[in-house]
Symmetry: C2
Subunit: 207 residues, 2 copies
């Protein structure tokens, strides 16, 4: 199975990544063996080492990759500047929509942090802080402009992100509410939590 030099996108590589993501999310990094991952791919354990140097690199690849994708998607979702209210609502909608469809990635990005070796841990932490700063800056700008009642932007930012990400703990497709309905509930709660009560001040941009 020779392959053009420089090419890296083998089928097995992607399947190992996918299997590891599922299994790590379901059972936890430490509880999943390389043999389990290999079995899910339909391959022997040793074959994984043709694509990843070790188990740790597999975890690091998943977590760092997830954070980079998140930041890129976030940047693209909020390119054009707007008022703090509009930017906050845009952030809430982006965060919910993005996270609800990546339950496994979000789960391990939070749960398996402690299983990262120091270098990988630092990289993920840095990326996470960069994402958190997006919201914090929106809150700070809104507070400065007097449109938000936020007295402490860092704390409010952490509170809002925790609230939004929490949707992943209970949401399942096919449930009582659609993603759009959930989005509306969270938008309203978040906007009100920072002091925006008038729906007219909010932007409606349902997909």
């Amino acid at each position: 199975m020779a392959r053009t030099a420089g090419s890296v996108g083998t089928k097995t590589f992607d399947e190992v990544r996918k299997a590891a993501l599922q299994l790590f999310a379901r059972h936890g990094y430490a509880a999943v063996s390389m043999r389990q991952i290999a079995a899910q791919v339909g391959v022997q354990a040793g074959a994984i080492y043709n694509h990843f140097p070790n188990k740790q690199a597999l975890l690091a690849d998943l977590l760092i990759g997830h954070m980079r994708n998140l930041i890129k998607a976030c940047d693209e979702a909020g390119i054009q500047p707007a008022s703090p209210q509009v930017e906050l609502e845009r952030f809430v909608r982006f965060h919910i929509r993005y996270h609800i469809d990546r339950a496994d990635e979000v789960f391990i990005a939070y749960m398996e942090l402690r299983n990262l070796e120091p270098d990988n841990f630092r990289e993920v932490q840095t990326l996470r802080q960069r994402y958190e700063r997006v919201l914090r800056d929106i809150l700070r700008d809104g507070a400065k402009a007097g449109v938000f009642e936020t007295s402490d932007a860092p704390v409010a930012g952490m509170a809002i992100i925790a609230m939004l990400t929490g949707v992943n703990t209970w949401f399942r497709y096919g449930g009582r509410l659609s993603v759009t309905q959930i989005e509306e509930i969270y938008v309203k709660m978040v906007m009100q939590s920072v002091g925006i009560f008038d729906p007219a001040l909010r932007e409606e941009e349902n997909a």
Copy 2:
């Protein structure tokens, strides 16, 4: 080291519990060995089996014990009925204060759920739902009475609990803010998130 029949509160029992709690919180259930726990207690691995039948029972004991303590403390904190506003504020203050001082228990009660065998998992889930119902009922009553703008009490309840519990991910004693200051920020955000904007409608009961 014989001991009165029926007595169960040995020193080692408690120390094993404490060591397991710390180690599970720090490294995760699957990543911690019985030998590590024993070493932290200053005992051999086999000695643990005089107090717990196996590793799983140790985890189940910690999680079920935590949930039972939480529910008992919550019941005691909200014994006297009051208005929805007062009850909600009381719940927020209780939740933050209780969780902030039990970081390890809260962490494993969420992270190690998947490592519980089915029977233990069901028990913890039942207890968790009983706790969540406390908040949900407050929100439902407030919405019925027209004092909360909550359109969906179950979702709002999950959102608020996620927001509050999230404080554990960043709070450390000796930081920029005191527990009381943090409590005030969260009380304000939560009350506003359900539509209560006037501070006069809120009860101030700082400890």
